[in-house]
Amino acid sequence: MLQQCIFQNNNLSSRIIDSEVVILTKDGYLHVLNKIASLIWENADGKTKVSEIIEKICQEYEVDQETAKQDAIGFIRDLKIKNLVTIA
């Protein structure tokens, strides 16, 4: 997964409020992302690799590489299960 990119799916939209991302799905659900999750979401542009996203997390939040990697991959998998992103 580290060399893959993630894409926001088309069946939803998002808003940024108080520096946090809110995702609205087609079936009416809201997902509120904290600051780190919001950073991951904003980099789900199909161009930024997962490894690069992890690097950004480490720089922005002074977290060690391994912790950032575990958390980011776990979160991305969760987004995939909820059909919010595609990994390619």
């Binding site: 939209s13 108080d18 609205l24």
Partner: protein, 297 residues
């Protein structure tokens, strides 16, 4: 059905003014109108800009109706026609002349489904309200589940579900004017200013008609507690709290339910951007006005 009344014979009428929208509800069944949950004022609103007419007829449209069918909340839309709750309600809307023709299954008139008649009417009226507003440019009126009270030149809106204390709060207000105690109208005017307005959608209090706009000081989300406290909320938390307390911001002909969800949330985020929002723990006495007075300073 009354055998003396022909189908399509809308001899009974009810005029319901909500903000700038005047809804004329016509039916062949008098008892339907007498059971409308929001009582009307018969006069025309001086600020009416939109007139919408709903003709309601009754037929046996589905062979059998169950409570499950009615509460299924499914909605199908095709061009200018709509069908709710597995066909229990069917109709069409002519957007050119702001008129809706609605057929409700006559079994809903029966006593054992009376509570659903009120649900149906409530949903239909509020959707018609938003449908009417769609055709009016630059109108962003919102109906919130809450009370609006003016005091010392400020208007305070207290939002909360049934049982949160809205009526009790109104009872505890001695030095203030109650605009509405159940469904408050909110509207954005120029310069990003939000105001509250009277609606005929009353709860325990019957207040005089008041068509003026009252600039909002703030929105308070009510919760009962043993002590009165007020906390300023972040915009995001306020928008999330507001969302379930807005009434039916969807129109009769919305093909795109996702757009309805998005529009509803955008209404919330815009409002909390320009209006201070607070969480209010309420002890069911009038001490909260002392706390609010401190905020005013």
């Amino acid at each position: 059905m009354n055998s003396e009344v022909k189908q399509g014979d809308y001899r009974f009428e009810l005029l319901l003014n909500i903000g700038s929208v005047s809804l004329l509800i016509r039916s062949s069944q008098k008892e339907l109108l007498s059971d409308v949950p929001f009582q009307n004022c018969a006069k025309e609103s001086p600020i009416t800009t939109v007139n919408f007419q709903i003709n309601i007829d009754f037929e046996r449209v589905v062979p059998e109706i169950s409570e499950e069918d009615i509460m299924s909340w499914d909605m199908k839309v095709h061009k200018n026609t709509f069908q709710w709750w597995k066909g229990c309600i069917q109709g069409s809307v002519n957007t050119a002349n702001n008129k809706a023709e609605v057929v409700i299954d006559e079994k809903i008139l029966s006593n054992d489904l009376k509570v659903f008649k009120i649900i149906v009417l409530r949903a239909l009226i509020l959707r018609a309200y938003y449908q009417a507003l769609k055709n009016v440019k630059d109108r962003r009126e919102i109906l919130g589940h809450g009370a609006a009270i003016t005091r010392n030149g400020y208007c305070f809106t207290f939002l909360g579900r049934s049982g949160s204390g809205k009526s009790t709060l109104c009872q505890q207000t001695n030095n203030g004017k109650i605009i509405n105690d159940e469904i408050a109208g909110l509207i954005k005017t120029e310069e990003n200013l939000y105001s509250a307005f009277w609606t005929p959608l009353e709860g325990s209090y019957s207040v005089p008609e008041d068509y003026s706009l009252h600039p909002l000081y703030g929105i308070f989300f009510l919760n009962k507690d043993v002590e009165t406290k007020i906390y300023k909320m972040r915009s995001l938390d306020a928008a999330l709290a507001l969302r379930p307390l807005l009434l039916y911001p969807g129109d009769l002909l919305s093909h795109d339910r996702f757009k309805v969800v998005s529009d509803r949330f955008d209404m919330c985020t815009d409002l909390v951007k320009y209006v201070n929002c607070y969480k209010m723990l309420f002890r069911r006495d009038n001490s909260f006005w002392n706390v609010i007075r401190c905020l005013e300073r």
